[in-house]
Assembly symmetry: C2
Homo-oligomer: 450 residues x 2
């Protein structure tokens, strides 16, 4: 029986052109990470479910891909268990990595005696989520994370902004780095005398862009915030000015909120460091930024590309107690994550992929038959010795077929060497774009292709 | 509750040092693949189980990691099904990639309208097998495969040998490339008048190295081979001489076996091409080589490292009808696979990893406090602008602690700039290996670190 080939929904194959582009993205990010002394680690695709469960909320647990135990997975299990969720944890001990942060926390705790803190690591690996697939959202996608753990210095925050700036500069993508601080959000809740409602407030504020002021107030009222508190929230809705102006305003508003003032101080210090590092990218304090609230305890980052209607292409923040869940207390970390697929889409939309990525093969020798093949192979060896990526058509097919092959692959140069050329110890080089042809000796041929 | 962190058995975390070494392996292989015009592709970690099942034998099916269906996986399934194997296929639609060859075949068939044959692709991704973990055998490991499909030219076989030669030359590993051909094995079965017993004969011959001649004969007798046939097998046991001599001998023995003679002709042509390409690595015809018998239809490769007692570090061959299982007939391919973990072990055992991989960070600035930090940051920016990988200790910790940090990480240079240095616009550079110190201006500092 013939199986009609397909792949699971939400997953993708990558063709050579896509791979060349993706590798360009990974390589660019890797280079910047490494220049800033971040070191690579990798963790297994499968983690114990006990490591993953309960770390991403109820929704996250549902979205984990679970791996069936090997062998007789039914052994000693009541297969008539009513709840599929409970049954799943009995027949599956392992799950696929959902992000890179929890595995990193697990790594740090497990290897605490092998690593020296502060530990700056980067990690670029796929993650898997059983989300409903839709445009731009996949069930398998890559994350590129840089985190530093074991230091509370805000220099780290600044360095991550510098890395971000450098990465997007290399890509030629014009971005703005939006920053906030969880402590500022806590300060706002303080001012509203609604510290217990901070999650509701942040969730609502976060939607300001999308649903507008009226709806945010409506939502907060439904969530039990008093009219008085909502009134006090008004000034935060139209919070304009330079970062310095915003910080001055906040300082006044937070006169009575210790945590709010701490937030102002942290942002100020981060910006001071950013200035010392001469980060050229615009950094904008955005007090509505509330991503990853349950996670972050200090700085919050989000990167937006200008000129494209794609959401954030990067985000991160500081978490004071990430390794606590694995038993290692009081280790603070700060990190940022770059989404490869979002960056791909932006580069694609803006036409920013370097043209050199289109076809890595510089030239192909046409195969005219046994004698000519031998002549071509000797030359091909010389080209490769000079690090020129070249190939020879492996069969003596019709010339038209071989030319079509070169054309389809987008190979810029075709080299022909038949009887005539062999007599003259020469090669005919055809530029596939211009159609121009020239007869050259080997030295000149190499020169042309270098 | 605190979860004691661990990872599933047979899987591994990779620390920075291991990652640097692994990346060196991947990068070296990738460079050689690309120079020979092999193009990268990637396929998803999860494939439909229907793609994977039945492709690796019964044992293989058992070793596939199966991924539980999302949501209510019990819906419409008789959970009291007696056979766990059958039940597994009802509650799991997906499985983890077991190798790169079957996904590649699936890729070629699925994307046949997008790719131009002959198609040279490489793929370097992890695969997963629920094997019993043991020394050197993991449940998650990387394969690095190069295959060309859609051409029967033996030039491809020669090119794969050339690639192999170049890769191991770059690693500094002395190897021998062993070759055989499935048609030679068929010829041997012909000569023995036991074509129906070819699998038994090959399985037994393959063990010659391990169990010796006597035991091989014993095994073949048990498998129903006649005494006469076993007698005829004797000459193949002590098959010595140069490749040319071996081929001449085989030609005589195969006088009556058409397929045997075809095998001889193919090997001869491969060696002719190898000579044209001036492959410097020893290539040895080994007629006992019978790996992947159910797969390969032509050439068979195996690479062994000299001076280490590790099995084959690479292997491959030609398969005439790989895509047939997915409905695309008559597409011949030939490929080779390099095992990253085996290569790692060999490089490690022979001490061949470049020393430069040990610590990518060239220098670290000691952090003496606010003013000095600012002075150091300005210099750090200059170093990084010159592509020197450097960092600054992010906190003003005790000097001893900072020096220990540099030492533990193996950073070769420490830069100190306190009040004195600041006055002189200088930096003290300490070589951590020799202990030597010198005071330098910024330009000299950059020069020393470049």
């Amino acid at each position: 029986m013939t199986v009609k080939p397909s792949i699971p929904k939400g997953t993708r194959d990558f063709t050579p052109v896509e791979m060349m582009r993706r590798n360009y993205i990974f390589q660019t990010i890797r280079t910047v990470f490494e220049k800033h002394a971040y070191l690579p680690i990798e963790t297994p695709a499968m983690e114990n479910l006990s490591t993953l469960m309960g770390k991403y909320g109820e929704e996250g647990d549902r979205l984990l891909f679970k791996v069936l135990n090997s062998g007789d997975f039914t052994h000693g299990v009541d297969m008539n268990e009513d709840s599929p969720t409970r049954l799943a944890t009995k027949i599956c001990e392992k799950g696929l990595r959902y992000d890179l942060t929890v595995p990193f926390a697990r790594f740090v705790v497990q290897h605490q005696n092998e690593i020296t803190l502060p530990f700056k690591r980067y990690q670029m690996q796929p993650v898997w989520r059983a989300d409903r697939p839709q445009k731009g959202r996949y069930r398998e996608f890559y994350q590129c994370d840089a985190d530093v753990i074991g230091t509370t210095s805000l220099l780290n925050e600044a360095e991550l902004m510098q890395i971000t700036s450098e990465i997007f500069q290399k890509f030629g993508i014009d971005v703005v780095i939006k920053i906030n601080n969880r402590k500022i959000l806590s300060g706002i809740a303080d001012v509203l005398c609604a510290s217990d409602k901070i999650t509701d407030i942040c969730t609502a504020i976060d939607k300001l862009d999308k649903i507008g002021k009226e709806n945010v107030c409506q939502e907060l009222m439904e969530r039990g915030l008093s009219c008085e508190a909502i009134d006090k929230l008004q000034p935060f809705f139209d919070f304009s000015g330079s970062n310095t102006e915003k910080l001055a305003k906040l300082e006044t508003i937070f006169a009575e909120s210790e945590i709010g003032l701490k937030g102002v101080e942290e942002i100020r210090k981060m910006l001071e460091y950013a200035e010392m590092l001469a980060i050229p990218t615009e950094i904008e304090l955005d007090i509505t930024l509330a991503r990853g609230l349950n996670y972050y305890t200090g700085a919050i980052f989000e990167v937006k590309a200008r000129n494209v209607s794609i959401g954030s292409i990067s985000g991160g923040g500081r978490y004071d107690n990430l390794t606590g869940i694995f038993g290692l207390k009081n280790v603070s970390g700060v990190g940022i994550s770059y989404g490869a697929e979002r960056i791909y889409d932006v580069l694609n939309e803006l036409g920013l992929f370097p043209k050199s990525l289109e076809c890595p093969v510089k030239a192909i020798f046409i195969n005219f038959g046994e004698k000519e093949e031998q002549y071509a192979l000797a030359a091909l060896q010389q080209l490769r010795a000079e690090d020129i990526t070249a190939e020879i058509y492996p069969d003596k097919a019709k010339i038209g077929k071989q030319m079509t092959f070169a054309n389809n692959k987008g190979i810029p140069f075709v080299i022909m060497a038949g009887e005539d050329e062999m007599k003259e110890n020469a090669f005919t080089l055809k530029n596939m774009e211009t159609g121009e042809q020239q007869k050259l000796n080997l030295a000149k041929l190499i020169e042309e292709l270098q």
